[in-house]
């Protein structure tokens, strides 16, 4: 298979375009491209920068890699976090430390790299896990001992210790894409932006940087074929632009801005279907306990009582999202039913009076996005009600995401933030960022609790769901008891698609490109 990486229009086409432009300015009915077969046009929020599963930088890259590289298993579309075989015809957990797999017998790599073998599985998994390779996803295979090849297409995955997230957030994800050892050896160990040895339902046939990526159905894929002959992926950062593109008929599937969900549901675009999906993301108000005045637990508690989270979330998300009770979303082990400390401005004033605080001014750093700004403004108003003046500091993404890092020079001045993280469907993905070892890295509140750290480690190796449920609930109780967190929302994901498309979506609304089908 050959693929064609295009790098923008040619000089000839630009010159010809400029000279013919006058004629094109005449108004005429919109031309449509003639296409052979079925074509799906989808929006992703960023262009790809790398096509190596071990070093991927963004979720849209993962979506593409999932379609072009077969993994052992993949998520099933639907409302529950379940998985289905992708590259295997058998996979099962023999005991807490051993997983057996057998590859389908007819999965080939492109570019002449032959059939996929168990040795390729061994290579791909151990490549991610090996610390020397410095994959950011090494933690997904933290419990790996080795992959043993037992037959040409069968093997055993051996773990050092039980690993609860394995079936939820390791095996079905792009981290477990299977690459060809021979291809990677030939490339010197890494894939950049030119895919090699593709093996999935689709093949990446064209990448025009910052313009579009084209996937075509893999003619050699012998199993459930992709639903479309061609999938065109357009990188569009701004969700509002994507919505207009949808309304103009240029794209068939996009995420919408949260602020648009209610409007879209009331008056959906012609031929459009709006789907609301629960998000796994979590948004919180955090207080840095190492910086005054939040070194005082009673002031932290006063802020917890001062914030009317219902109003904050209603205002920021136009009524589309609900308040949260922690960092673990409904449907996952550890989701709590209620918060420990609710909105009680009288209690907040009492606590402030008790501490002799009369003229308190604090700063709240946020990312410069409309939802965050609205939330911050309501928080500012709530705090003013109890006598705290709050200055909102907006930051662009490049600045915001380094504010609390000890590599920078602001972490010891940072007082409050509105944070938002997304996650995979395992509670450990949420709790990992608040452990003591993350202080000054991503734990910007500098929350430091030994019991929490111990429970996090225990949660990773505990396989009993009910015990895990108890562990993660307790961890969120500890977070809230510290006074450093006000849990705001898990947000919501709005999906907009044509009624002629049956989208393949994970329960949180993320796309499974290989599972999209004509309706």
């Amino acid at each position: 298979m050959s693929h064609d990486i295009k790098t923008g229009p040619s000089r000839r086409s630009v010159l010809a375009g400029a000279s013919a432009f006058g004629a094109a300015t005449l108004a005429f009915p919109r031309m449509s491209l003639s296409q052979d077969g079925t074509v799906l046009t989808v929006r992703s929020y960023s262009d790809l920068q790398i096509l190596d599963p071990a070093y991927r930088l963004s979720a849209p890259e993962g979506d593409i890699m999932r379609a072009i590289y077969a993994g052992l298993i993949t998520n099933e579309p639907g409302d529950d976090w379940t998985w289905t075989p992708y590259g295997v015809d058998m996979i099962e957990q023999l005991d807490e430390l051993t997983i057996a797999f057998r590859l389908r017998d007819n999965i080939g790599f492109t570019d002449g790299y032959g059939q996929m073998t168990a040795d390729d599985v061994k290579f791909s998994i151990e490549r991610v896990a090996n610390p020397e390779n410095e994959s950011p996803y090494a933690g997904d295979w933290a419990a790996l001992r080795e992959v043993e090849v037992t037959e040409e297409r069968a093997g055993l995955i051996h773990l050092n210790e039980p690993f609860a997230p394995l079936w939820n957030s390791t095996l079905p994800t792009t981290t477990c894409s299977i690459l060809s050892r021979a291809a990677l050896d030939a490339l010197g160990g890494r894939i950049a932006t030119e895919p090699v040895a593709q093996s999935g339902r689709y093949l990446l046939t064209e990448w025009t940087p910052r313009q579009r990526t084209v996937l075509r159905r893999n003619p050699d894929w012998a199993y459930e074929p992709g639903g479309y002959d061609e999938i065109i992926i357009l990188p569009i950062e701004d969700p509002s632009t994507a919505e207009l593109g949808f309304e103009a008929g240029d794209i068939d599937y996009t995420w919408t801005a949260v602020s648009s969900i209610a409007r879209m549901q009331e008056t959906p675009p012609e031929g459009g279907v709006v789907v609301e999906k629960p998000s796994l993301a979590y948004v919180w108000l955090g207080m840095n306990k190492d910086v005054a005045p939040f070194d005082n637990p009673n002031i932290r508690r006063a802020v917890q009582h001062a914030i009317d989270t219902e109003t904050v979330v209603d205002a920021a998300y136009f009524g589309a999202a609900s308040t949260s009770t922690g960092i673990i979303a409904p449907g996952l082990p550890g989701h709590r039913e209620a918060n420990l400390y609710g909105y009680d401005p009288d209690r907040a004033r009492e606590l402030l009076a008790q501490e002799g605080v009369t003229d308190l001014s604090i700063t709240l750093d946020i990312l410069n996005q409309s939802e965050r700004l609205t939330a911050a403004q309501v928080i500012q108003s709530n705090l003013a009600d109890v006598g705290i003046a709050c200055e909102i500091k907006q930051n662009d993404s490049g600045t915001f995401w380094t504010l609390g890092s000890e590599d920078g020079d602001y972490w010891d001045q940072l007082q409050m933030i509105i944070g938002r993280f997304s996650m995979e469907p395992d509670p450990s993905w949420a709790t990992v960022w608040f452990t003591p070892e993350q202080i000054g890295v991503w734990n910007w509140e500098r929350f430091d609790n030994a019991e929490y750290a111990e429970l996090h480690a225990q949660g990773l190796t505990e396989l009993d769901p009910s015990v895990r449920d108890t562990i993660y609930k307790r961890m969120q109780d500890i977070m809230e008891e510290s006074g450093q967190y006000v849990f705001l929302t898990h947000e919501v994901t709005g999906v907009l698609h044509r009624d002629t498309v049956e989208p393949g979506l994970k329960p949180n609304g993320e796309p499974l490109l290989g599972e999209f089908r004509p309706a």
């Binding site: 790098t7 923008g8 086409s13 400029a18 094109a24 009915p29 410095e134 940087p209 632009t241």
Partner: protein, 314 residues
């Protein structure tokens, strides 16, 4: 002329050098760690440090500047560290889209502005003149992003005559041109007003000139006088205005590229700043600076060649 050209070229080199220094300083005053932003939450300290070394951020700032400066003069703008593609390649991929957008904007502004200006001048003091005056000021006053959004809503969303997003099929020139219509209108419409006002003012001056009166005395048709003898002279200040306008159209192009989700230098720089992709920011801004300086240099040389007074006054 040779002396003038040499001096002008020397000045262009100085301008580019100063721009590079300012650019470098501004980039490094922006807060935020490029390695943390680029690699995301799962990166370890070792990975971030490795990326900083690959980006050359571990070097003293003067060494970084020297590497950037010396590389730039040899055409080596470095490597985009995440995709490992040469920065110059990445920039040159995007440049044609922006140039096409600006060319389209100029086409709109010339195609509409010159006839409107001529019409207003010929119909001086009439209702038509006043109408053109109001329209000209109105399109100058409306920000280009507002024009972009309304054009998109009307022609793409409501009427569905034109596409809303993208730059068209890479292999299909017709499709690319259709995708260029709305964004270039957004970029060029404001300039319709400037050009109409400028052409009207110049035309009124020229129409009073003695050679035009002579032409009228010979009984030449009014249309021929206006478009053949008056406009050919009145158009010269407009050409100069357009030369300056290219810089402003570059700014408008950023909005158009974002609103219409088009590739291009504006969006490239915008995204690169957000992700603190310093090699890409410096490379893209440097290329556009050089381009702008080069165009101005060419314009100055042409003017100098045509007008000896300009050469002697430099």
């Amino acid at each position: 002329m040779l002396v003038y050209a040499t001096k002008r070229l020397g000045l262009a080199v100085v301008i580019v050098s100063v721009a590079m220094l300012l650019l470098f300083c501004m980039i490094y005053l922006i807060p935020g760690d490029p390695a943390s932003v680029a690699l995301g939450p799962r990166a370890t300290d070792a990975m971030k440090e490795a990326l900083r070394i690959r980006m050359g951020l571990d070097q003293p700032i003067w060494v970084q500047f020297w590497n950037f400066y010396s590389g730039a003069w040899t055409g080596d703008l470095g490597v985009e560290v995440l995709s490992e593609r040469p920065v110059l390649t990445v920039v040159l991929e995007q440049l044609p889209f922006t140039l096409a957008l600006i060319a389209g904007g100029i086409t709109w502004s010339v195609a509409l502005g010159i006839p409107l200006g001529c019409w207003a001048a010929v119909k001086r003091g009439s209702l038509a003149d006043r109408f053109v005056g109001v329209v000209s000021v109105a399109v100058i006053a409306i920000p280009s992003f507002v024009i972009a959004i309304y054009a998109l809503l009307i022609f793409a969303v409501t009427l569905r005559w034109l596409p809303a997003i993208g730059a068209g099929d890479p292999g299909d020139l017709g499709d690319q041109l259709i995708h260029l219509i709305l964004p270039s209108l957004a970029v060029g419409l404001g300039w319709v007003g400037y050009i109409a006002r400028m052409v009207r003012a110049s035309m009124l001056e020229v129409l009073e000139a003695s050679h035009i009166r002579t032409a009228r005395a010979f009984g030449l048709p009014e249309r021929q006088i206006t478009y053949r003898y008056a406009l050919s002279i009145a158009i010269l200040p407009t050409v100069t205005l357009l030369g300056v306008g290219i810089g402003q159209m570059l700014s408008s192009a950023v909005f158009a590229e974002i609103v219409f989700a088009r590739p291009g230098i504006g969006r490239l720089v915008f995204d690169a700043i957000l992700t603190r992709n310093f090699p890409l920011v410096t490379g893209a801004v440097l290329v556009t600076t050089v381009l702008f300086v080069l165009l101005n240099l060419i314009a100055d040389l042409i003017v100098g060649a045509l007008d000896p007074r300009v050469r002697s006054s430099f």
